[in-house]
Subunit: 539 residues, 2 copies
């Protein structure tokens, strides 16, 4: 969120018009300080010198299983200093004057983020539970609440009693908020008068509205343009980037490989926050979390990328994006054994199944460069949740759309690419991504042998599952039980579509290191394998 | 691995007999220093004062996308000092004397781990690629290899030429290794003579052999013992622990909740490395990695635990355990919406599907306390890969095994719990874990209405999938198309088993916060829902 602020401030503020100008505060617990993502995110925040980011560390030294002594002895101040942060300390979390002074000092530090380490006491005032793990995971209980109120000199034992003095204090926040809002509106009016175009653009971006003709100039690809879908993705991204300045992001140290590079977009760095290429470093978890922060802040549309295998490192923020309906876009490349020599540590097997199982996450695995165009179009339009675009490392043919169905069928999740004569197939072959080439090849071989096959491209199961039953039955007629699905990945997601008598040609083992064509051959994923399985099915 | 060494040294060494005595070295790159797991693991290693752990940081300041300046400006020495590590520096990685001296100094520091920060140059000696990102992700190429050899004064341009002097130097390692091994064997002989029982036990543990009658005294549970499967798991674990001292481990700050507590096992801490309860802290990723290190070292059988939702934080080490055939045991509790009030952030939906998709990982979700016994028995016996035991937070009934089939069917992955008269069901109801209660309830309701149903408990899909076709067809006869699967999770894994005309009662949305019985009701997972769906299927 602090990065979004710095980015938008650089782009939209003008002399005398600080229209984007706020601090970002976070509160962190002892547990947060132990989690790895705190290292990734705070290291990067220090590197980027995000001076308006201020953390309050609720240092109560209690976790669920006991005191932090059990497992944690970091010198957290020293640790954050190693990241280039400014550190303040408050010895007593109930000393509001000291807390206020520390936060003011933090705000004065504009050249680096600040951490305010506040020594606190969990269940403060509770005679038997203060500073105890029991206060972490369970309520105090009626009796202990009573004793705590008595100890703190609370004026009433009645539940939820709020003293008049407290209420008045809190109610002042209303006036203060109203005043601040009125001030900002005045500032905004002045900004709109002085810079009407900028104001209109900022408003558009904050509202998440797409500009007119945003997708008018997307590239087209011909059958002679065989290329990796990651390469096509880079081209489409840059065509979109020209129309959608809100697209910013980058990669966890794999930009050159994922092709998520905004050409002439500049590199985000301390003092260059208005650039578009974010170098997240080898920090996938933080990348996911930062994409969420950018999306929550608004005014930008975040894109992050890494190899599909490393999506495992960022499942928690992917899930959070889905749960919070955040429109982050993930580009996951090197999506199968097709990456070749890097071998089984780098070859995704279970990742597609794992991602497709997340509610409200849309996973699109385009078959060729033309489907990549449609995939990006769909991703940009899909604003109610995150989208994962899954791309190949290896070159794949561009499907001849004069001969086969157009790629805009992608919006329906699955579509008939090539059909049997009269639309009456004996067998249905379906696939996603690079394996669509295999089912199209098998379709042609079967057709030449007089076998009525249908080839279906299924780039997005979520889109397909959300179509009306009529459409789904038109693509996969219940009357055709002979169905074969092909994907170089764990077969789990396909059983739903092949049904009872169908077969999934997938992978229930880890991959191997070799030139990718050889891995495909050895693991039984070739046109010949598809043809043989299809014939077996028909027998 | 350093923890395993410290643990076994404490248990097995005797005065004059340091039979377990080695340093553990790691090499880390700039990328490793950015990844969050480096924080989690090194923070804990510092806390535990693992003095025989020595890291070599290959500080070449180059990553794939550029120099580390792009994204990384940590003061890594200061950071590791904040964890309580000793830090050495070597200014030139080619200065072998300096490197040797630094490593010797690190070994002398026995009261805390050491990091040796070595400034190196990637592609050292290459005239055009030294200190460049191009040298990170791609080979130098034939011409640059030639130029590099010339620059370094290499005696030959022939590929793979090894100068005699180098070969001799390397071959000395053979003699040194042989001498060290002979010394250790002598030490081992003396140890065996002085402490034959200990020597035999160490040998057994290093070989991974189970002792006789290891599972003779496992607890039994009666229908009156309704309890959460996590609670039953804690009891079984402690019964096993008495016979299997190699079981060690704990939790990522949720031991009280996951019931992975070795009673009277003591807490692992600096100087108390022989204890059995490891407090991993709020560090799931490191927990997974440490379990792998313990397993790779051998002599211990590692157990780790957290809530099922947090398995997302440790997918990379779970996958690595599966890929490396490591016999780690994960206990994942709070396994569904059944955890209730903590709400959707804590309620797993897609985690079961995601874990089941990992090759060579065995996922067992027992239905009741009795299946928990069998689940643990199977987990301990399964040594060719990791096992995840998935348990409830909420209380579940203990199935009356006098009335229904015995729980040892768990070893087959799925088994018929209750059958239709004559073994001729019209409809098959299947489930895992807490939802077995629902299908058993529905079975009884349908039976009372004269509808021939079969109830199948399917605690482990991996075991079931590996059974011969005969057995699978006996449990799920192809002649019975009316099949209903129930699991409070993403339905993806079940389509394989319900087949064409079947239905999966699962969850394709995130959960909700409420008392768990209400969530089950509102999301359509009750006995009545199962009965209704079963009847619909039969119509």
């Amino acid at each position: 969120m602090a990065l979004a602020e710095a980015h938008l401030a650089t782009l939209f503020n003008r002399p005398g018009h600080a229209i984007v100008d706020h601090c970002t505060y976070f509160v962190a617990s002892d547990g947060d300080m132990m989690e790895g993502v705190s290292h990734e995110a705070c290291s990067l925040a220090g590197h980027l010198k995000l001076g308006k980011l201020i953390g309050i560390y609720d240092d109560n030294r209690i976790t669920i299983d006991g005191t932090t002594d059990l497992t944690f002895s970091d010198d957290t101040a020293r640790r954050f200093e190693s990241y280039g942060w400014h550190v303040e300390r408050v010895a007593d979390g109930n000393d509001l004057g000291a807390l206020d002074a520390a936060l003011a000092a933090a705000r004065r530090q504009t050249d680096r983020p600040s951490l305010v380490i506040v020594r606190t006491h969990i269940a403060y005032g509770s005679p038997h539970k203060q500073d105890s793990p029991e206060a972490h995971g369970a309520p105090l209980g009626a009796e202990e609440v009573k004793l705590t109120k008595q100890r703190l000199g609370w004026p009433s034992l009645e539940p939820f009693h709020v003293p008049e003095e407290s209420l008045e204090h809190w109610r002042r926040a209303r006036d203060r908020g109203a005043r601040l809002e009125a001030e900002w509106r005045k500032r905004h009016d002045a900004y709109r008068a002085a810079h009407p175009d900028l104001a209109r653009e900022l408003e558009r971006r904050l509202a998440g509205r797409l500009p007119e003709a945003w997708d008018a100039d997307l590239p087209g690809f011909a059958p002679t343009d065989a290329q990796a879908t990651r390469a096509a993705s880079g081209k489409v991204l840059n065509a979109l980037a020209a129309k959608l300045p809100e697209l910013i992001g980058g990669s966890a140290d794999l930009a050159g490989s994922t092709h998520v590079v905004f050409k002439n977009g500049g590199d985000v760095a301390a003092g260059s926050w208005g650039a578009r290429n974010v170098h997240f470093g080898v920090r996938e978890h933080a990348m996911g979390a930062i994409l969420n922060g950018l999306a929550v802040h608004g005014g930008v549309r975040p894109v992050g990328s890494t190899f599909l295998i490393f999506s495992d490192y960022m499942r928690p923020p992917i899930r959070l994006a889905a749960l919070c309906h955040l429109p982050a876009i993930f580009v996951f490349t090197h999506d199968s054994i097709g990456l070749g020599e890097d071998g089984p540590t780098h070859q995704p097997i279970e990742q597609l199944a794992g991602l497709r199982a997340i509610p409200n996450l849309t996973v699109i695995r385009p078959a060729d460069a033309t489907e990549v165009v449609e995939a990006w179009r769909a991703a940009v339009q899909h604003q109610s949740g995150p989208v994962a675009l899954v791309c190949t490392r290896q070159k794949v043919p561009v499907i001849d759309r004069a001969r086969y169905a157009p790629a805009n069928g992608l919006r329906l999740g699955a579509y008939v690419l090539a059909d049997a004569p009269g639309g009456r197939p004996a067998v249905i072959l379906m696939a996603s991504g690079s394996e669509v080439e295999l089912v199209l090849g098998a379709y042609e071989t079967l057709a030449a042998a007089g076998i009525a096959a249908r080839a279906v491209s299924m780039p997005c199961m979520e889109f397909f599952a959300s179509q009306p039953r009529d459409y789904r039955d038109a693509v996969l007629p219940p009357s055709v039980p002979a169905r074969l699905a092909v994907e170089a990945a764990a077969p789990q997601p396909w059983y739903r579509w092949v049904a009872d008598h169908g077969v999934v040609l997938g992978l229930e083992r880890f991959g191997a290191s070799a030139p990718y064509q050889r891995i495909y051959r050895e693991l039984g994923l070739t046109v010949e394998d598809v043809v043989r399985k299809a014939k077996e099915l028909l027998e």
